[in-house]
Each structure stands twice: as C-alpha cells, then as structure tokens.
Amino acid sequence: MLAFVYGQGGCILQQQQQHSLQTRRCFLGNQNYFVGKNNATGKNTKTVVFKRRKQVVAVQTSHVDSLGGTRDQKKNQVEFTQVPDQRGHFGRYGGQFVPETLFFCLENLTKCFEETKDDPEFRQELNSLLKDFVGRPSPLYFAERLSSRYARKDGTGPKIYLKREDLNHTGAHKINNSLAQCLLARKLGKKRIIAETGAGQHGVATATVCARFGLKCVVYMGAKDMKRQSLNVFRMRLLGAEVREVTAGTGTLTNALSEAIRDWVTYPEETHYIVGSVSGPHPYPLIVREFQSIIGKETKQQAKEKWGSNPDILVACVGGGSNAMGLFHDFVAEPNVRLIGVEAAGEGLDSQKHAATLTCGQLGVLHGAMSYVIQDEDGQIKEVHSISAGLDYPGVGPEHAFLKDTGRAEYVAVTDEEAIQGFKLLSRMEGIIPALETAHAVAYLDKLCPTLSGSPNIVLCCSGRGDKDVHTVMEYLKEKGDSDIHLDDIIS
C-alpha cells in the first residue's frame, strides 16, 4: 500500500518530488481527499486526509478502481500509529535503502522485534532494568522560575515543565534505546555490538549496557566530535568500549554512521548494530521509537497526575529525532497537542553552515532511509554545522519527515548563538545545565511563548545534561565574548 502525502491546504510537492514522481493529478481544496495515478505502478490511488480542527490527524491511501466520482468520507479515524508499514514506510519516507548483504540482518531483527516487544518476560526484564539501572521514571518537573520569565502582568502565562531525561543513568535519553536493543541483541545471539555516536551520549549508553551485559562494544565517532566531546570518549573507553576514530568527510556523526554501516556490512552475522536515533533503515526508526516512547508514556501519566489532562505543547530538539519521537509518539494521535521540533540553525539558515534538515533539506536517501537530506545540486550529501555534535547531522528520521509533511508537527531552527543563550538561561534560572542539544529547545521558548495566549502547559524534553559541553561553551564564549543574559527582561 503506497501512501503519498501532501501538506495541508494544497499540493506542496517539492521540485525534486516532481522529477521523480510521475504525473499525478491531485487536489485538496475543500475536499479532504485527493486521487491520482501512479505511473510507476499504473494504479489509481486515493489518499484521504483526516483533520480535526484544521489539524491533520491521519492519512490513508488505498488503491481504487477508478478516478473521480464522489466518495463518502470515512468518519472513523485511521490510527496514526499504523505507520510504518511492513517495509518501513511512513508515507513516502523510510524504507530500507541498504546494500543487499544487510537484508538478512534486517529481516531477522524485524522478526525478533515483533516477537519480543510484547513478550511479558522481555517487558518485565526491561522495566526492571529501566527502574533499577536507569533510574526511571524520570521526573516531570515544573520549571517555576523559567515559567515566570514568560508570565504576563495579569498572572497568566505558559507553564513550562521539563521532562528530566538528563537525570537518567549516563545523563541522557539514549540509554532507553541502548538498553532495550542490547536485550534484543542478546536474544539474537549476537556477541558484538557496534554503534555510531555524535555527541557521545549514545556511545556512552551503549558502552554502559555492553559493560553491564558483557558484550564486546565498538563505537564509531567522528574525529571532530571526539575532540569536542572528549569527556565522553574517555567515559566510553573507561567502560571498556573501543572507540574508532572516523576521519572521512567532516569527521562528524554522518561519517561515523556511514562507517558503522560498512562495519555491519562486513560482519553481519555476529554483529548487532545499535542505531542511536530514529534514522536508518527499517526496522530501526520503528524500534528506536518504540523504546524511546517511554518518555511520552510517562509524560502522559505524569501530566494527568499533575494537572489532569494532556500537555498542550511538546517541544524537543531534533538531530536524528529520537528524543522528540519518544516524547511525541503517544501524543501524535491526540490532535489537541501541538508538537514542535527544534533543529540546529548553526550560523544561520542563510549561511552554508547549519543543520536544519527539515527546514532547508530536500527529499533524499541517506543511511538507508528516504527522508529529508541536506544535499547539493547533484545530490551529494553536504557538510553541515552545528555547535552541538548531536544535532550536527544532514539527515533526519523519516517519521519526522512524515509528521512535517502531514502538518502534524512543526519544525523550527535555532542558531548556535541562541542555543548558547538557552544553555545559560536554564542554568541560571533553574540550576539545570542542559546539553547543548537540549539548549536549542530551551532557546526556542523565548520565541514561542510570546506568541501564546492563556496558560498552556508546555512539556520540554530535557534530553541530556551539559557536563560534556562545558569546554565547547567556554571556548565559544571566549571567542565571541560573554554577553550576559539580562534576567530582568520579562517578556510580556
């Protein structure tokens, strides 16, 4: 079943899609469905878009016998959680674009995941480790002072809650996924684990669980990242992992990912590759989302306890997109919850030095998945830049591409400079030093809150702690000068 998805209010086919998708007749307008013919398969397709209060909630595409004619709208809502399909498609995105050698691995992994994820014994072991080893559940903390920054004169104003993934063991949300995938790898009988890492948090989390379970661990990290996150390199080695430097290209996350895939292609039988984010070939976006969704599940429960309903707005930083997907997933089918992903604008969206994939990228295939990619006129993958290693990636998880195209989630970008301000803001106003990645989301609050009315409850995913970033921030401030944030600026 193919699903071609378009944005709200009309056909927003990008130039690139025009090239590769053949002629298609489509119209949105007042109707909530459109029909077209896929010249590649020769089949007619009808795509129905379900909206509630102007927000796209779900899309469903099916083959139809003929074009045209009126059809009754389906009143019942299609489960958004039905994506991805069997081949890992989220609409046009996702899939498995990897060399043939990896397919038997991906098939075994998919089978193992499907069989294991609802197995009560697996769940029990995982939950017990999440509780006693990782320290879950992570608190949902009311950031009182930060909220007061956005309070209006009449006393109303957004209420900011922080989902404290930084309090997990190893200091970030990454361990939720590494731990669960390690259990899967054990089930598959793999003795060797490989991982890629940008900021080092996923590398540390993987090295941690490998130490816990006695598995051999190899982490690929870009040379540039190894320098700017040297604390994490040391931690990984201390935990017994081998950290392999990747000097190709820019020496960042994207090169580490490519090298990890090459390793996996070379030793597919004995190795399990723990992908750190919701990117990569199917079933990884599904698996990582599933294991990170504990963030959102807990948040739902905690929100109910604290104020009796769902949050109004969710904000999270997006590199590959795992913490955002983890927070968003349980709320995607709840149309009243606004989802906002914050990417890295680096030195500015107009410069050539940013990593705002969803804002500035185009349709492309990277590291096994069809998604948005920052690429040049030929389709060569471009060098990107962000001060934060974890967001310094020219791709993004395919599900985020899908959420963007269907209008279900919004994606914005924040510069290095703004992120540094966010870093300082949270430190000084709440006594929490966030990771630079998280600081991007914090920085966006300054832009978001003045646009809001009433007192919405905002949950921001505090995806990691910032100890690893102090040197980077120190150097940045030394170079650019330290302009202090003025705490008496109340935005009204």
Binding site: H19, Q22, P99, E100, T101, R262, G364, V365, G379
Partner: protein
Amino acid sequence: MSLIDKIFQETKSNNKIALMPFIMAGDPNIETTIKALNILDNSGSHMIELGIPYSDPLADGIIIQSSAQRALNQGFRINHVFSILEKINLSIPIIIFCYFNLILHYGINNFIYKLYQLNVKGIIIPDLPIEEADEVLMTCKQYNINLNMLVSPVSTESRIKLILEKSNGFIYLVSSTGVTGIRHNFSYVIKDKIELIRRYSTKPIVIGFGVSKPSHIKQIKAWGADGIIIGSACMQQISKSTESNGLDDFKNFINEMIQSI
C-alpha cells in the same frame, strides 16, 4: 536478446569468462578516465563499469571511497559523467554504477532517459533494494536498459527468488560480506550460491568485490560464473600512474587479467 546477453553467451561458448573492469569517473581527472576507458576498449575486456563519485558510498571500502573523494574534491559533477560518455565512442557496452540518491535527485525518469540517450546499456545501484526498485525497473524496461541487482552470499533463498523474478539484468553476486576492496581468497560459498541461483534462473551471474589476481579469475571461472568485475584493483593501478609512465601499469594489469579468462 540484449547486447549484454549476447556477449555473455558468446564468451561462454568460447569457454571464457567475461571481464568487466570498473573505474571511477573523474579520478584522478577526467582526461585519465577517458584514456583508461579507451585502453579498456582495446584490451579485450567485454564490458566496462563506470562509477559515479558519491559522498557517502556505503558499499565501498577505502580504495573506492578515496577514489570518489578525490574526484569530488576536484569539483566533479554528474554532468561530467555525461560529457565523458558523449566524448567517447567505445565498441564495448558501458554499465553505470551509481548510488540511489544521485539518481533520485536528478529525477529517475530524467536520469534513465539520459543514460539511454548516451547509449548506456545497464545500471547498478548498490543501495536500491528490489522492494524499492519498482519505479526504476519500470523506467529501465521502458528504455531497454538493464537494472542489474546485487545478491550477497548471505541472502536468503526467498530473497534471491524475488530478485531473480523482478530484475531484468544480470545478477551481481558479491563475493563475500563486506564492502569493496581487495581480498586474498574467496570462499566456496560462492560456488554454492551460483548453483542455487542457476536452479531458478538462466540469468548471467557476475562476481565482484575483491578480485585482483589471475588465480582469482581462474577459480571463479571454474565455479561457473559468467563474468568478473574488477574494481578496487583497477583503481589502485590507475592511482599508481604518473605523468611519465602514463597508464602503463594499468594497461599491463588488464592484459594480465585478460590472459586468465
């Protein structure tokens, strides 16, 4: 029967194995590529694989990775491949080796049509699996270009059957797990895989990844393959070349390989 099928049939009936060298376009520069293509044309090789440099070649080892990087550092563009193809006039068919994102970005239809206009006979896309290949296959069939699919020694029987069913070119059986790069020897698994494939199809089977010695060719020929692709070893020979000795190393290497077919 396509031209490529005819070539395989002819070599088989002459009790030979088809030699299909691979070179990366643009490394070290376009002139050298054109020279190398002409050398191959006159060497007795049966087909040429021409690679398009890509920034993230997942299936390639260090030799071909660096080769692609050198070409890109010189400012190599897709259009340069097309101008190379326009300039040369070879007697043997060319097959393009290209990663999917470049084709997607150019536009699948536009790209395949361009290859058709330039008389390219086939294409290999290492990161395009059979499940995602519908649009490419349809377009290739329209323009009579072969989409040659990869099969690996760890591919399951059901996948092999699916690939055999849908593809319209030869089968590129990679010699082992791993990426491209020179290997010392090859496993009997290849022989078994060749026999397995033959049970389901008469499509020609070509072996690649790691071939670098005449003894390799002899062994693979004995196992029953129809063709051999030599990639990293070729690029290694080309990178040895200097202004003075031209491409003599490369020429001699190819001649040595030709003796063993």
